[in-house]
């Protein structure tokens, strides 16, 4: 039964990973580049939530209404101010700039908030659970996080496939020059795409903070988990990213069930096996983005 429990917990954890990963997937899909500061931005969002909670005394879940818009605005500014100019300098420059940004964010957070672990206390909600059988219960918080993860993936997918904005993003992704000739302002489209990505990162950061303890040095691990979810699921497929997140989450909880120290390692190994045997991912491009 504890194995079934580990499986269910892993599945729910996968929702959080999908939530963390969908911004990474979106940015790659539209701009063909990877934001290495992605994980540190999620941790930054968690700290933003912490500040909001401490200042206002609101429930962490409510802090989302402040964190998400701030992150979205920061995303647009970041794209227009830093990443856009870097993209114009070739393939390597955006990686170097976002890597620099990651190091800056991590160490600024550490100077401001110390290296201590923090958490967003969501009160009784964190411990409340839904009893499925005598021996199996799922927490409401993991369940809600999972639902938010699925919702975020669905929302981003809908924006990409059904809206005028999404069409502009896909066009820019396919051929920036041709899209420009059709009257699309690529820089603005890139800005909006990064804003949406960081909005999901803001959401993910707050849920990360509620679900686990976090510290300024958690960013790299968050980036790696998000990345593993994307690759396991398959590039270019948001629903694949959700599946990848679930596979990663299950691998980690099953690994931790064997031996607590093996949880993260098991996730990495599943990723490496997928990369070795099925580099296109488990569910490549099931939906065109």
């Amino acid at each position: 039964m504890e194995w079934v429990n580990a499986l269910v917990q892993g599945l729910l954890l996968g929702g959080l990973y999908a939530l963390l990963a969908c911004g990474l997937s979106l940015v790659f899909g539209v701009m063909r580049t990877v934001n290495i500061a992605h994980g540190d931005l999620a941790v930054f969002a968690a700290f933003l939530g912490l500040v909001v909670v401490e200042r206002t005394g609101l429930h962490p879940a409510v802090s989302i209404v402040a964190v998400v818009p701030v992150m979205a605005a920061a995303g647009y500014a970041l794209q227009r101010g830093l990443l856009g100019p870097a993209l114009a300098r070739g393939e390597i420059a955006p990686l170097l700039v976002t890597f620099g940004l990651a190091v800056v964010l991590q160490n600024v957070l550490q100077e401001l908030f110390s290296a201590d672990t923090q958490s967003l206390d969501s009160g009784g909600f964190a411990t409340a659970s839904l009893r499925l059988t005598d021996q199996l219960a799922v927490g409401w918080l993991p369940l809600v996080t999972f639902a938010v993860g699925v919702g975020a993936v669905a929302a981003v997918q809908l924006v990409l496939s059904r809206t005028r904005l999404g069409r502009a993003m896909r066009a820019t992704s396919d051929d920036p020059e041709a899209a420009g000739l059709m009257g699309i302002d690529n820089r603005h489209v890139y800005g909006i795409a990064t804003a949406i990505a960081l909005a999901t990162v803001g959401l993910a950061g707050v849920f990360l903070g509620m679900r686990t303890q976090f510290s300024p040095t958690l960013g790299p691990l968050v980036l790696i988990f998000a990345f593993e979810a994307v690759i396991i699921g398959g590039l270019g497929s948001l629903w694949g990213t959700l599946a990848g997140g679930i596979v990663l989450g299950v691998a980690q909880t099953i690994g931790a069930q064997v031996q607590p120290a093996y949880g993260v390692l098991a996730g990495h190994l599943v990723f490496l096996v997928v990369l070795g045997l099925r580099p296109q991912g488990l569910f490549p491009r099931t939906v065109t983005t």
Binding site: V34, R89, V104, I224, P279
Partner: protein, 351 residues
């Protein structure tokens, strides 16, 4: 009727080499003149030169951004300590063995991470480094999570003064070896192919450059170099600890030194390493803000001064590896003068 000719981008490498030899000779004499502490610091500088040169080889010439080079620093350092402590091998012998082990690991790893490109390749190398770190924390023979010390007995009956001097000379030798090796590699046919790959991998492949093979070779060479640096660091600090030798901060430092010094030149990483060495003490007084300053500097250099500090030297090269197209004497001045004044050659041809 004369034809255009392809020439080296500088008239002769000999003045630069002579200057480099003079500097190396002076550095080789230093253990007779400076304190042990200074030798230790300079040994660290040599490790930084090796690391920066290797990262430049990867990114500046191979076009591969790796943020997982700490994997090989760790394997090199741990390999050396393991061989010396349990096998009783002299660290000076254990070093090349550990570095070769890094090459073997990198060769295997390349078959996995080469399936990804760009930023995803970068993060995949990081995952590999994390996996190696996590595995190391589980190995009791090397002290698991808390690490272990290099037994001084492994150095035989060297007195501390000689031990520190020998490690210093080892570091100097490694720095010379990696810089000279990179220089020779880049002057070879393969080096020209790498330059083409960095500028445009698809185009390079279409004119017959073996893109994947060249990149794999660079990946393995860079791993061996980082392994040597890791072993050197272990000899210098006499201690290995997973969270320290497998720390991504090493790679951050490599990236920042190369960006600030100047990517895609032999001299740039050396300039970056020396610049970092010179301001190190002042920076470390600032605690973690020093990483913030380095990060901001790296972003600023990437966007505003992409050729780094060495780029300020213009087309001057101590170690010329590029080529230049020399056009025949102009019959009509106007069209022939154009190539000389248009885009500076180092952006196109000279790495």
């Amino acid at each position: 009727m004369s034809h255009a000719a392809v020439r080296r981008s500088a008239r002769s490498p000999w003045p630069g080499l002579a200057a480099a030899c003079a500097v190396v000779a002076a550095l080789a004499y230093l253990p007779y003149a400076v304190s042990r502490g200074t030798q230790g610091e300079l040994t660290n500088l040599f490790a930084l030169v090796v690391l920066a040169t290797m990262w430049n080889l990867l990114a500046g010439y191979g076009g591969m951004v790796s943020i997982g080079q700490q994997a090989y620093i760790g394997v090199g350092a741990y390999g050396l300590v393991y061989l010396a402590n349990t096998g009783g091998v002299s660290p000076f012998l254990a070093l090349p063995v550990a570095a070769l082990a890094c090459g073997v690991v990198a060769l295997a790893v390349s078959y996995l991470v080469f399936r990804l490109a760009g930023g995803y390749f970068a993060i995949a190398t990081w995952v590999v480094a994390e996996v190696l770190r996590l595995i190391t924390t589980q190995i009791d023979a090397v002290g698991a999570g808390s690490g272990t010390s290099l037994r001084l007995a492994a150095f035989g009956d060297l007195t501390p003064g000689f031990r520190i001097a020998y490690v210093y000379w080892l570091g100097l030798g490694l720095a010379v070896l990696t810089v000279a090796g990179t220089y020779l590699l880049m002057r070879s046919r393969l080096g020209l192919g790498l330059t083409a790959i960095r500028d445009n991998a698809v185009a390079a492949g279409s004119v017959g450059v073996p893109v994947v093979r060249a990149r794999r070779l660079v990946f393995v060479v860079a791993a061996v170099g980082c392994g040597l640096a890791g072993g050197l660091i272990a000899c210098n600090t006499l201690r290995v600890q997973p969270d320290s030798v497998f720390s991504v901060n090493y790679t951050a430092l490599m990236v920042f030194m190369v960006i600030i010094g100047g990517m895609g030149t032999i001299e740039g990483p050396i300039v970056g390493a020396v610049a970092f060495y010179l301001i190190q003490d002042r920076l470390q007084a600032l605690d973690l803000w020093y990483l913030v300053i380095l990060g901001v500097a790296a972003i600023a250099f990437t966007l505003l001064l992409p050729h780094g500090l060495w780029g300020l030297a213009g087309r001057f090269r101590l170690f010329p590896v590029g080529y230049r197209l020399a056009l025949p004497a102009p019959a009509e001045p106007a069209p022939a003068a154009e190539p000389a004044t248009s885009a500076p050659p180092q952006q196109r041809v000279t790495p």
